[in-house]
């Protein structure tokens, strides 16, 4: 077991492993996203109140979940990097940020498009919307901080602390609709009770979320490979690998 973790943290080993795994995740993601997209648009019944407009849920909810999930992955990787001084963990955290920011943006944009006809407004400063916007700023701040420090080791440590501080926002986003009266509705699926959504609407939502998860894994692994190559560009294995020596 110990050996497995030690090998996983070694850049050449991880580089090869990620290269093998990434396409598999990519294909599973493509199949799931296309299939769930079709099911969400044509197979799931229209909603009793919103008609077909509810179908934006199949993009909005998975991307909102992913925006939180990616942040937790990023903060965990940052903590591992800080505590055990594992460079690969910092590379993972750095690779998470643009992906998380994209999911956050997608959640905010699709929510806004849905909010205009349903609520009657593009944007309101309610607790859920505001905390999700802060998440986007956290991702952006994390990337800006990394970009502003030239020395990789210092950039790793500084941005890891920022990622850890920002993790407090994750439970705030999740519970914002429960703690305060907000315009955004309460949780439909992620609650202890039975989900308040019909099964035929829920199934494409869950498969789509799993597809988003696989997409994240595929792109994250590919990004980490690039990040590792850049960080280890002077190491012997990279030079051998690229045929430079």
């Amino acid at each position: 077991m110990r050996k497995f973790w030690h090998e996983l943290a070694s850049p050449p080993h991880f580089y090869r492993l990620a290269g093998r795994l990434s396409p598999w995740f990519g294909w599973v993601a493509a199949v799931l996203i296309v299939g769930s997209g079709w099911a969400g648009l044509f197979w799931a019944p229209p909603d009793y109140q919103q008609g077909d407009a509810f179908r934006i849920i199949y993009v909005h909810v998975p991307s909102a979940w992913m925006s939180l999930f990616v942040y937790v992955v990023m903060a965990t990787a940052a903590a591992i990097g800080l505590i055990w001084r594992i460079k690969l963990a910092h590379a993972v955290a750095a690779s998470c940020a643009p992906l998380g920011a994209s999911f956050t943006f997608l959640a905010l944009a699709t929510g806004s498009i849905w909010g205009k006809p349903m609520w009657g407004t593009w944007w309101e400063w309610d607790a859920r919307l505001t905390s999700e916007l802060i998440l986007l700023f956290l991702y952006a701040g994390y990337m800006a901080l990394r970009g502003s420090i030239d020395d990789t080791a210092r950039a790793d440590r500084a941005s890891a602390v920022l990622a850890l501080v920002g993790v407090v926002n994750v439970p705030i986003i999740h519970y914002s609709v429960i703690w305060w009266s907000s315009l955004h509705q309460g949780p439909t699926v992620t609650k202890l009770d039975a989900p308040s959504i019909a099964v035929s609407m829920l199934v494409p939502l869950l498969t789509m979320s799993f597809g988003f998860m696989c997409y994240f894994a595929a792109v994250l692994l590919a990004r980490v490979r690039g990040e590792v190559l850049e960080r280890e560009r002077n190491a012997r294995w990279v030079r051998q690998y690229s045929g430079l020596s």
């Binding site: 229209p46 009793y48 850890l164 009266s181 308040s196 609407m201």
Partner: protein, 144 residues
Amino acid sequence: MTPRRQRMILVGLVLLGVGLAAGFALRAFQENLLYFYSPSEVAAGSAPAGRAFRVGGMVADGSVERAPGSLEVRFVLTDFAHTVPVRYTGVLPDLFREGQGTIARGRLSADGDFIAEEVLAKHDENYMPPEVAQSLVSPPARSE
């Protein structure tokens, strides 16, 4: 104590400190984070007088009156304990109907009516096909 252990404790302390700070800050701003007041709070006088605020509740059944030839509409917001009569002139969102959760932003007039500048529909967390909604014992009332 190994340096690694020290760093572990440091990370734990950072998380704890930030969590506590955020908790206290959110408690302090509790009132500002409330997006709307309920009709009961308005009746109890805890809603701000003199400045604009939001009131949220259900549109009471049979309370929507539209003035013919204009966009003016009157309805009553209720939380099943107290009610607030609302006046509004403008376009209503798609989801607005009797029995629907609704949030109005505006101010209280001297005669006790709430003059809304903006009306938003609040969607609930329930998603179901129309057949299921119809088969429920008490389907949501519709104004159409």
